[in-house]
Amino acid sequence: MKTTAPLQIINLLKTIAFIFFGLLILWALINYLMMRQVYLHWVLLAFNLLLSAALGWRFYKSNYHTTFSYDKDGFEIERGDSRLSARWRDYSRVSLVHLGLGEFAVRLYKDGDDFLQIPVSSLKLNPSEFRFQATEFVKGQESNLEALSPGR
């Protein structure tokens, strides 16, 4: 099975920044309510940054980090704490979806409008090439797994 699990640096930085400013606001609020002034020091900011990095990493791993493994028979997708494995032949149609801001996903449709979305841009796979490869897998044709290259 081929596996890809790239670090989603934007999501990680967003998480860390959100926690950093959240803790900072919380600290300022508690200070003001207890002492009627806000105490700030670079040591405090450095500690906050370290704490935010640790908490951010944990939050990122449990919510955003995606691991995708696949071969010609099936695939397994793990995002945060949720995991799903399926066979390509369970799906009948494949589409390429633009999610905005240059982010693409590949949708696998079962009969009807029920679909599963693979976030190919986050996984650093070439969206267009992966779409064609997934189409071949869904049709039950052989495909060269090494043919995929990163980026669009």
């Binding site: 149609r93 494949v94 589409s95 979806v97 240059g102 267009s128 779409r131």
Partner: protein
């Protein structure tokens, strides 16, 4: 330029904002059967662009959100498949309540004079047709507003 290469360029261009003044195309299917015919590529979208913050709010308030589509097929210089394709598109439009649709017919050579005249005379408001000759990079578009817009958007040779 080969047909597949052209269609990939058109798809990439439409999905990353090439048609944003007309519609926001978001989802693309290849080799999609529609009714009794099959299209090489079908890209679905909406007339309301997504935008960001203010532009998104403005679009949400001011613009209608009708579904639209761009259909494409290839290798039909005599337009023998045109009639069943238009019928399939009309049925699909009605089913999905689409405002309008584009039909792009791509060929690695010239279209017949009869085919070009047929498309140039077509002034159907809801379906814009464009014939793309990849050899001469010539585009013949139907004579409706949607058709003329497609004629400009279909120039994706570089």
């Amino acid at each position: 330029m080969k047909i597949r290469e052209y269609l990939l360029r058109l798809e990439d261009d439409l999905m990353t904002g090439g048609g944003r003044w007309v519609a926001d195309f978001t989802e693309s299917f290849w080799e999609l059967p529609v009714g009794e015919t099959a299209f090489d590529m079908v890209i679905l979208g909406h007339t309301r662009p997504r935008g960001f913050l203010l532009s998104r709010f403005f679009a949400w308030v001011a613009l209608p959100n009708y579904p639209v589509a761009c259909f494409a097929y290839s290798g039909d210089p005599e337009l023998k498949r045109l009639s069943p394709s238009l019928k399939a598109i009309a049925e699909y439009r009605e089913k999905e309540e689409m405002a309008w649709a584009w039909l792009v017919i791509v060929n690695e050579g010239p279209f017949s004079r009869r085919a070009q005249a047929l498309v140039e005379k077509n002034d159907t408001k809801e379906i814009g047709i464009a014939l793309v000759d990849l050899a001469s990079q010539e585009i013949t578009a139907s004579n409706s507003y949607i058709g003329r817009r497609m004629g400009r958007i279909a120039k994706r040779f570089k």
